[in-house]
Symmetry: C2
DNA sequence: TAACAAACGTTATATTATAACAAATTAAGG
DNA sequence: CCTTAATTTGTTATAATATAACGTTTGTTA
């Protein structure tokens, strides 16, 4: 028997697979709509799965959108340190994987010398595509 | 006549004054409850004032809390670049004013060379007080 | 003072999220 | 294998957050 199975439950698997297949962040009720054929009937079933998936770092919540996206980063340490870029035009969201940035933020001390274990950063701008089209 | 009056309307003034007096971030419906004696009766009146106040940089929205806090920073450029520290224990929220950090983030380029005009950063940890008490 | 924009008031409703409770399932140790 | 505890589930109801749509009023500017 290994230490931790981290085996996902049925609902958790269903919700995760929908989020992983998606091209962008999904909203909770859109997930619900998408999984109703698979037996998940109530919002709470979705929210419970989401909560667990966030806890174990499989997905992140994009707070400015109240939407959920799969984690592509093996090293965001159970979702303690997240950074995203968000296009104001097409709403495209991408997780930022940048060692310098994450080191900088993880080591950041505020003016009183206080350090923080966790952060969430959301950048807004125009993605390349949308910039070209302007 | 000056260029821009930036004169706040009645409702905007009422909502702003409540937020400025508060010790921490306020939720929209708590604001509503607090201003009902002053003639504001409906959520929309509060949300409209909030929207405007955010737009002109007088307040910020703490996204992880769905709550609103007065801006103490004269230079956050109409709320384009915001950073907060949030205590996980007492929920104390403070706007971070740190030139190095804001320069670093304003100049940040992602791996594709993309730059962003706007960001929101929320740090989580234990504030000094709560750290001592542990 | 006409014309336009901004703000207002109001009702209704959409969207996002959680409480509470009982039943079913799973993991692990004796 | 059995039992105990923890987790997950299913379900109903409801809380909390936010916006749509409409017509009116106020404020600004030419």
């Amino acid at each position: 028997m290994t230490q931790k199975q981290e085996q996902l439950s049925k609902n958790q698997q269903i919700v995760l697979s929908i989020i992983e297949k998606a091209k962008g962040p999904l909203k909770a009720y859109s997930i619900l709509y998408n999984v109703q054929r698979r037996g998940i009937k109530a919002p709470l079933q979705v929210y419970r799965a989401l909560e667990k998936l966030i806890e174990i770092g499989k997905i992140h919540k994009i707070k400015s959108k109240n939407a959920f996206i799969a984690c592509k980063n093996s090293d965001c340490e159970i979702s303690k340190a997240t950074a995203f870029s968000i296009c104001n035009n097409c709403e495209h969201v991408k997780e930022i994987k940048n060692t310098k940035l994450s080191k900088y933020l993880s080591n950041f001390e505020d003016n009183s010398g206080m350090k923080y274990k966790k952060y969430n950063l959301e950048f807004f701008g125009l993605c390349k595509n949308c910039k070209l089209k302007q």
